[in-house]
């Protein structure tokens, strides 16, 4: 039987061992295994907050309300709290919260909001450090959903509070914020994936969107652009270790857990369907004129510069937040960009993909859980969601706002109904999920994928090796 140990037990054990070494005394026996944490604290806040934000408030936040989204039912629990509510977030997450601070402090004058902006990595590392240390965690923090499972033992179960709003969010947002029957956070955004391309350049080099149905079609068009531009322009750029491409293929091949099966117990990357898909990637990599291995990857500065200068005509794996990058870095290219679905592995196959939304979670350490929930709620629903979209152009997950936006055409994308297409892609995508060890699986896949694409291994051997490494390191079947 495996003996479990917690952080405190580790500390106790180490202290005992140290004392033993120094004082030649007996080390303390590790205490009996305990389940970490705080059902009591959760119990103390959850029902009250849940009641505070019940359907009445939800009803008050009608789609048409737009700016007037403050919950009508004053949250009793939150109003009883006082202190400084600390929020952590990275760019593209905290803007919605920021837009609601004034409204929030008007409603809850005893609670001051302090937003600390970190980089992506720092937000996640700092949160872990705080949870492990048992102190210093914020009251509310935006994290990448693919890393949610790494923190769940230190987060508050928000099932009660969030349940009344579940139907106001598009799938798979609710399932993404859930883990083992508990719900930990609502997402700010939805992340379907498509190809963002320069329409003017595609017209110039006679590439037609309608004719690109499969990855092989895209590969064929690459040579066409290369020849027509005398080698000066690449249709697309690609990195050999780009696990995002593999993830799109996995979803297209019917694996919504990307690297894992539905129960998150088994690795699926060496499935024959994935071998077939990765074989379909090879021509894409080897096609004439592909700009290979751009430093910083698909979303790095070099790639942005290449797209801005017209040296590359398309971002083939563009998540729903990518319009934010385009509009902020290339405002001069307004009207020239378009979005299309990612190609399929086989003609007539699904053309779908989904990346990783940001979810707002409340650490168990928070002493202002009800207030934190209220602020998260205000920023995710109604005006907060709208303000975040207006500022960042990141596709919202809030259904009423999507209903409204999908009828609108987007000038930056030449009048294309961007939200409508993104939403359609998301709708066609099965409920994806990100299992434990997801980030490590990505890295392992990237390493093996480049060996396959560089011809060092066959797709079958490379994927088998990747699967074996994942199974050993992630302890899955």
């Amino acid at each position: 039987m495996v003996k479990r140990i917690t952080r405190r037990q580790f500390l106790r054990l180490s202290a005992g061992a140290t004392a033993g070494a120094v004082l030649a005394a007996c080390g303390s026996e590790p205490a009996a295994p305990t389940v970490p944490t705080a059902p009591a604290a959760m119990g103390a806040t959850a029902p009250a907050a849940g009641g505070a934000t019940a359907p009445a408030a939800g009803g008050a936040i009608a789609p048409t309300a737009g700016g007037a989204t403050a919950p009508t039912a004053a949250p009793a629990a939150a109003s009883g709290e006082s202190g400084t509510l600390t929020v952590w977030g990275f760019e593209g997450t905290y803007e919605g919260i920021e837009s609601q601070v004034d409204a929030f402090t008007k409603q809850f004058p005893n609670v001051k909001v302090d937003i600390k902006k970190f980089g992506y990595d720092d937000t996640h590392t700092n949160l872990l450090n705080a949870i492990v240390a048992g102190t210093g965690a914020p009251d509310l923090v935006g994290i990448d959903v693919l890393r949610l499972t790494q923190y769940v033992d230190g987060l508050t179960d928000l099932s009660e509070q969030a349940k009344p709003y579940f139907d106001q969010f598009v799938p798979p947002i609710v399932s993404l914020g859930s883990y083992k029957g508990k719900f930990y956070g609502l997402a700010t955004d939805s992340e379907p994936v498509g190809v963002f391309y320069r329409k003017d350049l595609w017209d110039q080099y006679s590439v037609q969107e309608e004719k690109i149905e499969t990855w092989a079609d895209l590969a064929n068009a690459s040579g066409q652009v290369h020849d027509a531009s005398q080698g000066k322009v690449s249709l697309y750029a690609m990195n050999a270790n780009d696990f995002n491409l593999f993830e799109v293929l996995a979803v297209e091949q019917g694996f919504p857990g990307y690297y894992f099966n539905k129960d998150d117990t088994q690795v699926i990357v060496d499935d024959p369907k994935m071998v077939e898909a990765v074989n379909a990637l090879k021509p894409l990599w080897g096609a004439k004129g592909v700009l290979q291995n751009v430093n910083g990857g698909a979303y790095g500065d070099e790639m942005t510069a290449a797209l801005k200068s017209g040296k590359v005509t398309a971002q083939i794996i563009g998540a729903a937040w990518y319009p934010s990058t385009l509009t902020q870095n290339m405002p001069e290219l307004s009207g020239k960009w378009r979005l299309m679905r990612v190609p399929a592995v086989k003609k007539g196959g699904p053309r779908i993909g989904y990346q990783y939304p940001t979810v707002w979670v409340i650490p168990q350490q928070s002493t202002l859980k009800s207030s934190a929930w209220e602020l998260a709620h205000m920023s995710l629903i109604g005006d907060g969601a709208r303000r975040l979209y207006e500022k960042t152009k990141i596709l919202p997950a809030y259904k009423p706002l999507l209903d409204e936006l999908q009828t609108k055409s987007d000038d930056y994308f030449g009048g294309q109904k961007l939200v409508e297409l993104s939403r359609a892609i998301a709708k066609d995508t099965p409920d994806v999920f990100f299992g434990t060890g997801f980030t490590e699986a990505q890295e392992i896949m990237g390493n093996h994928l480049q060996e396959i694409l560089n011809g060092q291994k066959s797709a079958e051997d490379g994927l088998r090796a990747a699967a074996q490494e994942m199974r050993e390191k992630l302890k899955k079947g």
Binding site: K3, A17, Q150, Y151, N241, N293, E440
Partner: protein, 308 residues
């Protein structure tokens, strides 16, 4: 007054005992802050990491005892070997040239014939006080494919731009260059201190005997500098195997394309702060400590054999 005096007399043996105890304890009390801090922030984390290395501990989730499994997995982990290989490459590429350069620069700056010696010493030392992150960013910008100064120069000469930061060989060379640029000044100061401790009489005697400057350097400076060079080599070896900031900023924690720049420091960081595998990361740390210890012992042995 009398009762007080009597009381004092009655208590005298106890007071004496206290004074004697205090005389013995006082030195320990005065040095205790160091030991308390060392226990709390030195020994405890070391012991803690050894214990953690035997558990599958993920930070927030309770960890199961796995015995030596983390070490077994590590010894089968291809990324670990890649990181060791890359680190060895960087170690060989940077430490010997750095020591040589530092010694030469120090010898030159120790010479009486060089003017503005203090200015030069400051200039050579400046990279050491520059932020590690800035060093990484500057080198990243220099060798950037699209915006880099190096590629701009190549293009000005009519040569094609090169993807320096994605070429497995050049990635390591750039890392070595960044390390040389940043740390040579530091080693130079250590060498300079060593050079200044060599008595001038030896050089004067050699000169009287007809030795040239080069001969003096080889037969006086180098042998007398051996302990300093050895110290520098050991410190630099430890530093290289703990290398983190430069490769992290230049190539990210994954070591970029083909893991060509993943070093032991970034490999350890990746497992602890990205994957939250603290048990595994602790096992990495202990294996690294063993490797560094072995290398240091080897250097000491070789150094002492040469001296003998």
């Amino acid at each position: 007054m009398a009762p007080t005096a009597q009381l004092t007399q009655a208590q005298r043996p106890a007071v004496r005992r206290r004074e004697r105890w205090w005389r013995i304890a006082a030195p320990y009390v005065f040095i205790s802050p160091f030991y308390i801090l060392f226990l709390a922030f030195g020994l405890l984390p070391i012991v803690f990491s050894l214990v953690v290395s035997l558990y599958d501990w993920r930070g927030t989730t309770p960890g199961g005892f796995v015995g030596m499994q983390n070490y077994q997995v590590l010894l089968r982990d291809p990324t670990f070997y890649k990181s060791l290989l890359n680190t060895t490459y960087v170690w060989i590429g940077s430490v010997p040239p750095m020591i040589l350069l530092a010694l030469v620069f120090a010898a030159i700056l120790n010479s009486r014939f060089v003017r503005f010696r203090n200015l030069f010493r400051t200039v050579y030392f400046l990279p050491v006080v520059t932020s590690l992150v800035i060093t990484g960013l500057v080198f990243g910008q220099l060798f950037s494919m699209s915006f880099g100064l190096v590629n701009s120069a190549l293009e000005a000469l009519g040569l094609p731009a090169f993807n320096w930061l994605n070429d497995p060989t050049w990635m390591k060379i750039i890392l070595v260059l960044a390390l040389l640029w940043r740390w040579t000044g530091n080693d130079m100061v250590i060498m300079l201190a060593g050079l200044q401790s060599i008595p001038n009489d030896l050089y004067e005697a050699a000169r009287v005997d007809g030795a040239t400057d080069v001969q003096s350097f080889w037969h006086i400076t180098i042998p007398l500098m051996r302990p300093v060079i050895l110290f520098d080599a050991i410190i630099s070896t430890i530093g290289t195997f703990n290398l983190f900031a430069e490769p992290y900023v230049l190539f990210g924690q994954g070591g970029a394309m083909n893991q060509a720049a993943v070093v032991t420091g970034t490999f350890l960081y990746q497992n602890s702060f990205r994957y939250f595998k603290f048990g595994y990361a602790s096992a990495i740390a202990w294996v690294l400590a063993a490797i560094i210890l072995a290398l240091s012992m080897l250097q000491l042995k070789l150094g002492s054999r040469e001296a003998a």
